[in-house]
């Protein structure tokens, strides 16, 4: 019961969706199932929110290291939840959009969520630069090729790259760094991307078959759950 029912559901739903592609009256089944995903996702996110609270309340109650920041996380979570679920400060009534301009939810989004998120990602620029300094030393032929390609693409997208090779005559325009970058993107990069995409496609097809046929069962976890 604990394993057979989920395996049957996976097999039945997967097979049904594959068949739906070939049977015209069933062709909308994929869209319907995608809608179910969206509804299930809400509950999954509630579960995720609950788990976040559980972890931080546990940290708080046991006074673990940096427990004070858990209070901030919990307050931030409830603050955002209240602002959005009760539509505090919304210019319209309850039927208006939660992201309406002027609402508390949108204000928090613009002045807290966006700055924090984009700065966090921007910070990765420094770490990528520092990691690449260590990883990109031209130790062998492959690393040298990677380094040269990255360098040309980086230069090709900046005004400095244009400035460096602006003196090259139009008859040799391919040697100008911006054009070289475009050529690399449209030929070498495209070829590599295609090989990777076809590889991913074959991987997804084989993994899907393994899941539907019940060969791959790791998603069920162990029986103690």
């Amino acid at each position: 019961m604990k394993r057979q029912v989920p395996l049957f559901i996976t097999f039945f739903v997967g097979t049904l969706l594959i068949l739906s592609v070939f049977i015209p009256p069933m062709e909308n089944l994929g869209e319907n199932f995608t809608l179910f995903f969206d509804i299930i996702a809400v509950f999954a996110f509630f579960l995720g929110g609950g788990n976040l609270l559980r972890v931080h309340f546990k940290k708080l109650s046991k006074k673990k290291r940096d427990w004070q920041y858990s209070i901030v996380t919990i307050c931030g979570f409830f603050f955002m939840l209240a602002a959005g679920l009760f539509k505090i400060g919304n210019p319209g009534d309850i039927a208006s959009s939660v992201t309406a301009e002027g609402s508390l939810f949108q204000t928090i989004y613009t002045n807290m969520f966006v700055p924090l998120g984009s700065t966090m990602y921007a910070l990765l620029g420094f770490f990528v630069a520092s990691a690449s300094y260590r990883a990109f030393r031209a130790k062998n032929r492959e690393a040298t090729i990677l380094l040269i390609a990255a360098f040309i693409i980086l230069l090709g997208r900046t005004p400095f790259g244009t400035m460096l090779t602006v003196w090259i005559p139009d008859s040799m325009s391919i040697a100008q760094i911006p054009n070289l970058a475009i050529w690399i993107m449209n030929s070498f990069n495209l070829a590599g991307q295609r090989a990777i995409l076809i590889g991913i496609g074959l991987g997804v097809v084989s993994m899907s078959l393994r899941l539907i046929l019940g060969v791959e069962r790791t998603y069920l976890g162990d029986d103690s759950a």
Binding site: V42, D66, F79, V98, P115, L116, A129, I196
Partner: protein, 211 residues
Amino acid sequence: MEHFALWLAAFLTLGIISFLYKDNPWYKLSEAIFVGVSAGYWVVILFWDNFYGKFWLNKGDDPTLWVGAILGLLMILRLAPKIGWISRWPLAFIVGATGGLWLMNYFSSNIMVQVQATILPLFSTGFGTGFDASFGQIIGNLVIFVGTFTGLVYFFFSKEHTGAFGKTARVGIFFIMITFGASFGYTVMSRMSLLIGRIDFLLGDWLGLIK
């Protein structure tokens, strides 16, 4: 209110940037706020868009939507230790449906379309147009064909990479390396543009040094 919001955004931006110096309480505070606010944000968005918009408003017209809601409720049972195993049913539904959808979609978009796009005339601009391609186009076509083929050979691990097969795979590695280099270059550029955006905010919107 507007001024407070601006100062708050600047405070949080600088808090995250302060990590470049070292892990510090300012960064930890900003990080804790980010975790809480972003979790709350996604719960709210999904609640209004998916639960209210897609389920609650349409449940009368389309009773099949209850299937999604019931499966979602079953997922919550994970919190009950004794009957937590029932939460595998919605998981099995998601896995099965994703498998069925992706099998067909990936086969079509990642395999068939990409193979079709690679099998092109090498010396002409289209089928039946004769030898009308320029030297640059011919080189480009050859690069795409050779690169895709050798790249695929490199990803074929069921045969040992020795002899002619190994040499072909080696050519494939070079193409893959160029692809990784190009992707890396793009990633760095996107991160840098985000950083420029934040610096622009700090020096322009906040301090007013850039007009």
